[in-house]
């Protein structure tokens, strides 16, 4: 095994850039990372080797001792490496951790899209299964980490899990039964099912005045959401879901932005910006994923309707959320990955994936 420097820490593998394509898990003393759609070893970065007291389970006893002795408080500098000869990750020893990391990835990045037909995963079931896997992997969480909080995973779902039991699917019942044994230990009571608010209600309402703005358009176009710049469970994960229209209005030109939604969380308050040459404008989305705002020029003066008619709108960019660099290819790979998982659930599939696949025909 060869240790390389990863921003001041020792790591077993090449650094994996954060983003939609990486599944990570934070255990006691280390962060593990895998590219979601490639098989290969974990990249294990040691945040605190002394606290990674589980390492013998992964490297074997001699491997753990040898690695600890070789590192011995050395602070890694850029090009430095440490060879620990004869030490390797034992086959299968991190499989459950990878599965756990993938579950956490699904909670945050699963590309739900009505437009592209990628079904949502049941959040309560994903979280219940992550909670069970976390409890089973408790040796890796001697310290509390951002990923060790079993109670935090289960607490928001007590009503939903109860409701699932009444649905009667034996696989679901078994999962909920196992999870409820955990809730007993960590001090959570499963609650009575309560009716949940559905997004469809106001998606329909929002649709009513869409399209009315077609008249008087000076320019229109689309752009795509950069997933890493927005929270999950708000926007549809397809491309070109940001529709923008520059409206003819007196005395100044207005922009109307309308973003396709998908998920339970509100887009309200998320910033939106339009840039087109020297013209720009910014606002925040309302709870229907829409915004209307005036444009200004490079002198920060309002843009008159006549200026807008003469402007070249080619190359207009609309950004929703934080400004991040993310290629369409990245998102395409994630959608392909999700489709492949739904088309043929893998051996490490979560129950929520299997159920989504079954309902998706």
């Amino acid at each position: 095994m060869k240790l390389v420097a990863d921003s001041g820490l020792w790591s077993t593998g090449p650094p994996v850039a954060a983003g939609p394509l990486v599944a990570v898990l934070e255990v006691s003393g280390a962060v593990l990372a895998w590219p979601i759609d490639e098989s290969g070893p974990a990249s294990i970065t040691f945040t605190d080797l002394a606290r990674a007291d589980w390492l013998w389970r992964v490297l074997g006893e001699p491997g753990h001792s040898a690695l600890a002795a070789a590192v011995n408080e050395r602070l890694p500098h850029d090009a430095q490496t440490i060879d620990v000869t004869g030490v390797a990750v034992l086959p299968g020893s991190v499989d459950q951790l990878r599965r756990l990391a993938l579950g956490h990835w699904m909670r945050r990045w699963w590309p739900v899209s009505q437009r592209d037909g990628i079904a949502a995963l049941d959040g309560a079931l994903v979280d219940a299964e992550i909670a069970l896997l976390t409890a089973a992997a408790q040796h890796f969480f001697a310290d509390d980490t951002i990923d060790s909080d079993v109670a935090g995973l289960l607490a928001p779902h007590t009503a939903a899990l109860n409701a699932h039991v009444q649905g009667g699917d034996p696989r679901v019942v078994e999962l909920v039964r196992a999870a409820s044994e955990l809730t007993d230990d960590v001090g959570i009571v499963l609650a009575e099912p309560a009716p949940t608010r559905r997004r469809d209600d106001y998606a329909l309402a929002a649709g009513a005045d869409r399209g009315q703005r077609a008249a008087g358009a000076i320019a229109r176009g689309t752009d795509s959401i950069r997933w890493a710049g927005v929270p999950p469970a708000v926007f549809d994960a397809a491309e070109n879901t940001i529709e923008w229209v520059v409206e003819a209005a007196t005395p100044v030109a207005n922009v109307v932005v309308d973003v396709q939604l998908s998920g339970d969380d509100s887009p309200s308050g998320i910033p939106v910006r339009l840039r087109s040459g020297l013209l720009s404008g910014a606002a925040v989305l309302d709870d229907r994923g829409q915004a209307r705002f005036g444009l200004i020029d490079d002198q920060r003066q309002p843009v008159a309707e006549s200026t807008a008619w003469n402007h070249d709108w080619e190359g207009t960019e609309v950004t929703v959320g934080a400004d991040v660099d993310e290629s369409p290819e990245t998102r395409l790979r994630v959608r392909d990955f999700a489709r492949a998982r739904l088309a043929a659930p893998a051996g490490d599939a979560y129950l929520a994936e299997i159920l989504a696949a079954e309902s998706d025909y």
Binding site: A33, I270, A322
Partner: protein, 436 residues
Amino acid sequence: MTTGARAETATAVMRPRQAVIDGAWRAIGPGVELLSSDDGGPLRRTIKRIIDPLVLRLRSNTQYSAPFVDAAVASAIHELILGNGPALCAAAAWFEALKRERRRLRITTGNAQELYFPVCFELAVTRGAPSDADSDAATTVLRGIHDDRDRTAIEVLNQFVSDQQVVAKLSEQLRHSWRDVRAGTEITGPFLSGLTTVLGPAESHRESVARQRVWSALIADPTPYNLGANAHDATTSLPWSIVDLGLSSVEPQQSPTVVGGSAGDRPLNRCVVDRVRATLRRALDRDELPDVPLLCAEEVDRSCAPWGLLAEDNQAALIAGIEIAMDLAPLADVVPRYHLASLIQARLRKEAYVMHARRYLAEGGPIHPRQQQVIDDLSAFARPYLSRLWARLHGRDVWQEPCADVDDVRSLLEGVARSVSLDHRQRIKSMLQVAG
């Protein structure tokens, strides 16, 4: 540069301590399933709450606490655990009894393993395995655990300080104590340069010994005392602003009061009664309940002492913490001055990476405007870091736990960063989950 092969041969006989414990546990055989994980090893909490404190008794048997142990220590650990096999089986049976009782009494607060494991082992040692007649015992034990233990002591405190004469007497004591704290004239340079060694690396045994020697000298140095005493009046001679550090809301530090604090008070501004109340809350795990009038009188002197701490080693540890804290910024690329700070900063950066990879943060900033407040807090990491460090040192000061061991101090400085970071990140997470 490539190194490593040399170190390997030197440690061929050392075994990871956790592996030794795991092996011994499996050798016990059936009967401890309730304290075991599905794969048959001991639960993490079994180790933390039973094996380490009650079977291996790490506090007195420090040789069992090293992360790697030689063959002799390994076999001693093995024998000790195996020898406690019958007691551990009985403890597992008690846990089952307590859990049954928990369900019957419809108790849902707290983590059952965390709360019950130690008492199960104590019951096992004193009474053996539970019999059918022991269900009363289980009820009593549960009631004892779940009754609000700190309430009693805090009520005693409230009653004590509701007496105007008591408060007047403590206030008088406080006036004198505050007046008596005076800075000496010694120079601070040697102390601060000594910190470079204490917070520096030690790759060999010799360097570790040297690091300890420097720390032993530093805790006898008058600098921490003088700096803390200077904070009371001549703020200009401090290398930092105690307001910026979040230790006080005003400069110079004002004499604390006996009563009349409010919830958001910075550590050095807290009133005496609030400090004692914090002590009583933290005293949950202690068997002996402290004498409240004595605690109050002592806390008056402590609150006047430099940095609000009586022991010189604790004062020195706080200065080390201040120096570390100045170097930490989870969301920025900074170059710390100390080796230990570099290490902690690298960890914080990695933890921020996890948040980024999980879509809780966009690169270096909020992923939703709702998070802005927490993000701003993160950029002032020193403030929560020092608040928490001060609270830990205050606890050590009250219980007279020494800070003389340099590795102990270093792991304290690291542990505080870990818990502040986790706390921050949980807040960033929950800011996203709040319905918009």
